[in-house]
Structure formats: structure tokens, C-alpha cells
Amino acid sequence: MKIDTEFNAKNLVPDTEAGEPAEGTVNRFDVEMVAVSKSYDGGARAVDEISLRIPKASYCCLLGPSGCGKTTTLRMLAGHEDVTDGDVLIHDRNVTDALPAGRGTSMMFQSYALFPHLSALDNVAFSLKLKKVPKAERQARAMEFLKLVQMEELAHRMPAQLSGGQQQRVALARSLITRPKVLLLDEPLSALDPFLRVLMRSELKRIQTELGITFVHVTHSQEEALALSDMVVVMNNGKIMQAGTAREVFEKPSNTFVARFIGGHNVIEFEGRTVSVRADKCRIVEAVGGRNLPATITSIEYQGPLVRINLVTDDRKDLCAVISDTRFFADPPEVGEAVTFSWMPDDEWAFGA
């Protein structure tokens, strides 16, 4: 399904509002968080002094395990959660104490939160109704945004009559019609089945590119984050572990947590040093001039073009090698077999040390 994307791209970008920096002022970041903390009732900090700058028109993913503070961070950006300490800036304007609707953000909720008593069209037109835009005009504009998400055919359905993916498109249109400078998405793909997830993922990226605004997307899926992001922010225990491009985070994880969480890495203690080695750079044959470790194969997962081999060392450390199917089937090893796990020194990453 390819639609004509030219028809309204200009209408859909945010209005320039009064109160924004005058021309000539440097406006380098869409979102800035300065030493932002969140604690509930004086207890432990859910978010601990995080500082973050998201460049203009980026797709930014906040990635981390559950309870790491990523959703709280998003909700503080949206204004649905008070900031305990620090400042939040959107397009260089301090919005720390601004109302959710007054900060140029719009949030797409994990459950979509479509109003069940309103049709898809009325859901999208809701914010215009609040602004007392006449009915015909607001419905016409809502239809325009439903077209953007390819939902114009189902405009008159109620949310209960829509599938999860369709509901999400409506929720997206309802957020975008407010012309946000920054769209905030709380685990937008987690409720969808795997096939739809990949489809919607590219949809989100397409719409973000088309509108040229910043998307901040919370997820616990590293695959999603790597596939979508211009900028990945890995969080743990209320702190930012690493922020950078997807490639930086994957190739140069800043610590063992990031290396483990982002997946596809072996974190190995070898000759007194801790290094990470990408699983796809590891082999299960002895490497001449490489690092060799005796290990036993515990399981083999066939993944089509690749085969994942899980191993355990003599001192019970888990390892993993990902090799091509051609290489695997040339001489297939078996579960329980004792092999040599190896990698080349050039493929080691010592966490910047």
C-alpha cells in the first residue's frame, strides 16, 4: 500500500508559535533534558539525573528492561508526570512546568486510549472539537490525517470494531493532528503480533521521515530500537547507560550491561580483561592466531540464513556463536559436543578502556 504522500506534507508540519526563539538563534536540539530526576514520595529515584539531547527531526528510542525508568522519562517529557528535579526543554523552550497540551508534545499511549464511545473520525477530531473548530472543518481535517495513516476507509468505525493495528493508526492520527513538535510513543508496538509489528515499525519510520519531526519511542526490544533509531538511549536503574547512533551502541557498547542488553554479544573475561565480542564474529573451530576457549554446545537454533549455537565453558559461563547456514551445514556439530570457541583479537571491544 503506497499512498500519495505529497498531498499534505506541508500542512502537517508544526506551526511556528510565538515564544519560540527568534530567527538566528541556534536551535540544535528538539528535546533537551538537563539533570532530570524523578522520585515518588521522597523514595528511591525512578529516574536519576539524566541528561539527554535529541537532535532535530530524529527517531529516538529509549531502550531498557522494565522498571528502568524509560516510561517515566517519556511521561515527564509529555507532562503526565511531574519532574522532581531538573529541566525539560522542547525546541529550546523550558517546558518543565507546562501543561501536557502546552509543550508541543503529543503522546501515543501503550493501550492507544482511543475513546471507546467515539468513532475513529471523532477520536481524531477530538482535539479540534476542544478548540471549538466547526464540525465540517474538523472532520475534514481529521480525514486528512486518517489518510496519512491509511485509515480513511474505516473512519466511521468505533474503536471496538478495529483491530489492534488499526486502532494504533487511529491513535497515531489523533496525536499528529495536534501538530506536535515531538511525538512520544509508549511501547507502541508491544500489543501487536510479530508480523504487524514489523509492518507498523516501517510505517512509523515513514511517517516520522515525512513529517520531519522528532519521535521518542519507548521500547524494551533491542531489535526495534536498532531498526528504527537515529539515536538509541539505553537505560538501566533510572540512569542512561549509553546514548548514540544504533551502530555506535551495537558496535561499541559502553559497558557490559549495554553489551548484554543490546544482544548479539558475548561478554567474556579473558586473561584478566573483560571484553565483548559480537556473536557473529565468533567461531566454533580453533582459530590460528586467535583466542581459543574450550566449550560444550548446549543448544542449536536454526534461524534460516543463520544458525545460533549456544555453548557453555568449563567454568559455567554462557557463550554464543552465530554462523551462516552454509558454514554450519558444511560440518554440522551436535549438541553436547566439546568444541573450541574462538574469536580474533581485532573483534574484541574492551568498552573503550
Binding site: P100, A101, M107, Q110, A113, L114, F115, S119, R174
Partner: protein, 277 residues
Amino acid sequence: MLNRRPLSYYLLSTFFTAFLLFLYGPMICVYLLSFQGPEGGMSFPMRGFSLVWFETLFSAQGRGVGDLHNSFFRSIRLGLIVALLTMLIGVAAGMSFRRKYPGSNFVFYSAIASMVVPGIFVGFGISLTLRLLGLRPDWWYSGIGAQLTWSLPFAMLIMFIILGRLDKSYEEAATDLGASSAQRFQYVILPLILPGVIGIIMAGFTSSYEESARAGLNIGTGNTMPMELTGLLGAATTPVMFAVGTLTTLFMFSIVIATLLVSGSIAKRRQLRLTAH
């Protein structure tokens, strides 16, 4: 038979049937006896069928038996006002619990506690206080007030159930889209809780209509329906009281049916909006 029902099924069914018999059996007796022949008495056997006791009830411009005619309209008036106030205060109170505030637990438990205090003492206490203050009880303030002590806790509990099921993200989404708190209530919360609000009105009305323990001492001079009936029952010698029972039941059933029709038409209107397109 693979799907043989366990013994407990038969035991519980028997128990439930007995329960239904105890619940509706006496009522059916009352309805039957209200059609007793003119020669018949207040118990079986039936001596023919007639509408003579209904005629007695409505004889002399409705003043055939006691002050039933007036007490009925007093009860309706009281019930409608109590229902309206219960709805307004109950919904507002329920909404206030959407956000925790200092002392919210105290407010909640003190409201619920009034449900377990015997009504007769609540009524007695109110009347005693009025006397201390030198006020004469009257239906429009102390009568309504006394009944609200009974209907409001129910309204609050119903609101808790309704609002407990209402996903908080609807409100957040509305806020995110720029709704003020008034708009949020008008466009999002109220439409979603409307069936429950109708339920609160009904609960308020019925709890007032049948209530006399609290209102009794505080209603002033005009008896309400349950008070009048209690008085009449003590001295009753003819089946005319059964006719009252039959009519009251019909009245309450028609209210229930009317409510269902209203709720149904709301649902239908929503359905129509779907199919219209």
C-alpha cells in the same frame, strides 16, 4: 456419560430453587390475595376473584384507605429529590477519589461506616440533634438529609466500581489533546460512566422509596408510603393492603423497565451512529 454433573450441582440447584421460592413465594401469595372475592379474608382460601379491593383503595377520590394517596406522592417527591442529590453528590465524591488527597481514606471509611450503623439510630440521632438545636423536622431538609446518609454510601461504592474499571489513560489522553478538566469530564468521563450514573439514580430512588427507619423521625408531619403502610398493616382486617402491595410492585417494575428502555435507547443511539455510515 462423560459430562455427568457432580452431586454439588444438584445440591446447589436445590438450594437455589428453595431460595427463589422463599423470595417470590410470599410475594405471589400477596398478589393472588389482592384479587380475593368480596367475602374473602386475609388468608387462603380464595373466595372467588374480584377487583373489589382495588376499588376500595381508590374509592372516595383515593382516600379510601388511610392517607395512602398523599403518602404515595410524598414518597415519589422525596425519592426523586434524593435520587437527584445522590447522583450529583455521589458522582462528585467518586470523582474526587480519582486522585489521592490527604484524608481521602478517612472520608472513605467514614462514609462506608454509616452503612453499618443501624438506621433507626441514625434517624434517632438526627432527630435528637434537631431538638437540641430547637429545629422542627421537615421532609425537605431533615427528611432528605436522613435518607442521604443511607443512599450516598451506595452511590460512592457504585462510583468506585465504575471508575475503577475506567482506564486512567483515557483521561490522560484527553489532557494530552488539550482538554480542560471540565471538558475531560463532559466529553470523556461522563459518556463512559453514563450507564453507571443511571444506576446510581435508580439506587437512590429505590433506597429512598422503601426507607423509613432514618426518615421516620425526621420527616415532619406528612407520612411517606412505607410509614403509612406500617401503620395500616397493624390494624388491617381486609385484603385491601394486598392490593397496595400489587400496585406498588407494578409501579416499581415499570420504573425498572423504563430505566432499561432508557439505557437501551442510549446503546441503540450509539449503535445507529455506527450503522448509519
